[in-house]
């Protein structure tokens, strides 16, 4: 996996795909998988990054960018493989719909809220969430999540069209 994690603020014209996850925790790795596949199929116009999900890191990656698409695993207890999509600004995300995990974690949700507070959100931020089935250490990505990953991958190109 190659994650070119630059700290310099993204130029205003920059377009990014950020996959978030832990490749050793089953379906938690789906964001990284989608990002990796997108890189393989892309023409290089869109920068692809992989991240662990630490919030301040996300903030430094997307600060000032024009369009950022984040792909992450979701755990809502719903049907595995279900795809969620939120667009900011616009959609009600995350405060009202995504309960804060805790003040112990500073993750994606917190990064979005803090970026909004500090005025450093990308001009357009799209979040894809894929409902996971198993997050066991060392597990493979489940079949239904794989299917969802292919669908999200197919939809990503359209986001940058």
């Amino acid at each position: 996996m190659s994650a070119a994690c630059s700290n310099t603020p993204a130029p205003e014209s920059e377009k990014l795909v950020i996959g978030i996850g832990n490749e050793f925790r089953g379906d938690d790795g789906v964001g990284l998988l989608v990002a990796g596949r997108f890189r393989e199929s892309s023409d290089g116009r869109v920068k692809v990054l992989e991240a662990s999900g630490e919030g301040t890191e996300l903030m430094s990656l997307w600060s000032g960018a024009e369009l950022v698409v984040v792909v992450d695993a979701v755990h809502s207890g719903g049907e595995p493989g279900r795809i969620f999509r939120f667009v900011l600004p616009g959609d009600k995300f995350p405060g009202a719909i995504f309960p804060r995990q805790s003040t112990h974690a500073f993750g994606l949700v917190e990064a979005i809220e803090l970026s909004a507070t500090m005025g450093s959100l990308p001009r357009r931020l799209i979040i894809y969430g894929i409902e996971g089935r198993s997050f066991q250490t060392g597990a493979e990505i489940s079949d239904d999540v794989m299917t969802a990953a292919s669908e999200v991958l197919a939809r990503l190109a359209g986001e940058f069209a």
């Binding site: 700290n7 996850g21 662990s52 890191e57 755990h75 809502s76 804060r100 500073f106 949700v109 917190e110």
Partner: protein
Amino acid sequence: MKNKMIKVDYLARVEGEGALFVKIKNNEVADVKLRIFEPPRFFEAFLRGRKYSEAPDITARICGICPVAYQMSSVHAMENAFGVKINGQLRNLRRLLYCGEWIESHALHIYMLHAPDFLGYEDAIQMARDHPEAVKKALELKKIGNELVTLIGGREIHPINVRVGGFYRTPAKSELGAINERLKWALEAACDTVKLVATFPFPEFEQDYEFVALRHSDEYPFNEGRLVSNKGLNIGINEYERNFAEEHVEHSNSLHSVRIGHGNYFTGPLARYSLNFDMLTPLCQQLSKEAGLGTTCHNPFKSIVVRAIETVYACQEALRIIGQYEAPEQPFVPVEAKAGTGYGCTEAPRGILYHRYRVDDQGVIKDAKIVPPTSQNQKTIEQDLRRYVTMYMDQPKDKLTWQCEQAIRNYDPCISCATHFMKLEIERE
């Protein structure tokens, strides 16, 4: 209130993965259960059959916040097994890399996780509305730590430039010029941070801990030293498993570490500081004094001050190393694999991280053991909670719950080793 229950699903990623449970019955603490950390058993198994050279990159994946610590403990363990010693600029570069990790990890915890507790905010987002400049400073400070890790480690997340024997590539002297200027700013910001956090209100909670940390004859510890405590421990790293054991705990999948014959212990900034105060720079010692700290600190709530002092130290040490840096002739010393067992222990931002590997004559890993700092502190955190709740039982439940969370946060428990995903609930009408 005679009976109450405090329940915090504060790591509500997977049900039952992380939680705090406190039960008060007849005005006594009846039960404290803490589940916060899953030790890296999977990785110990995953490493078996892999080449020794893969250990730094594989173990770096255990933690998104402190990959450098895992890399450092693994390379030191392998070098110990092969009888290789790293000196001079290569050794300094390892310390420089560790400085970057301490700066970013401490800045994140001080400002984004711990400071809101003391200032009465629910989280950093609320804090940012009233104190945007402090949050901007925090983000910048953390970023400079990231930049240092990227520069020496090859990249910021899961650095790839570390190898057994040294590095794949070492920077030219000229490459360190830009970060040098950034670090001068970081040093000032870190000094301001000490002054800020020293003004926070701290509960009275001095405890008689056994502190365990590395101690080195010449320096504040990062990579090397003997393991010492304030209660008589003084051992080489290879004696770790003869002195410490992991006990199975019923309510948790994880293991609790104890010092054999002594019980729970405390590792991390407070322990390092209290066992190595004399190794801090004059500036750090002066700032500690101004912040009201003695040469030891037994109040875990003051760990935020100690983290700030250590951030100052990391900035100063980084500047010192860069100031006398000359690119080494070779980026690494040659390593020849041979059968044996190697031990490594380094000071991760959260405390001592122990690695032990047994390798065969082809350099294939036959057995691995990894004990992270958070799992070593778990029993002490439970003890703190039990004592804290006993002392402050009369407070309203909301306040007590919040302070219990704060008491756990004193240890900066590492959670990034587990899954990170969003917990999602959707309300339908």
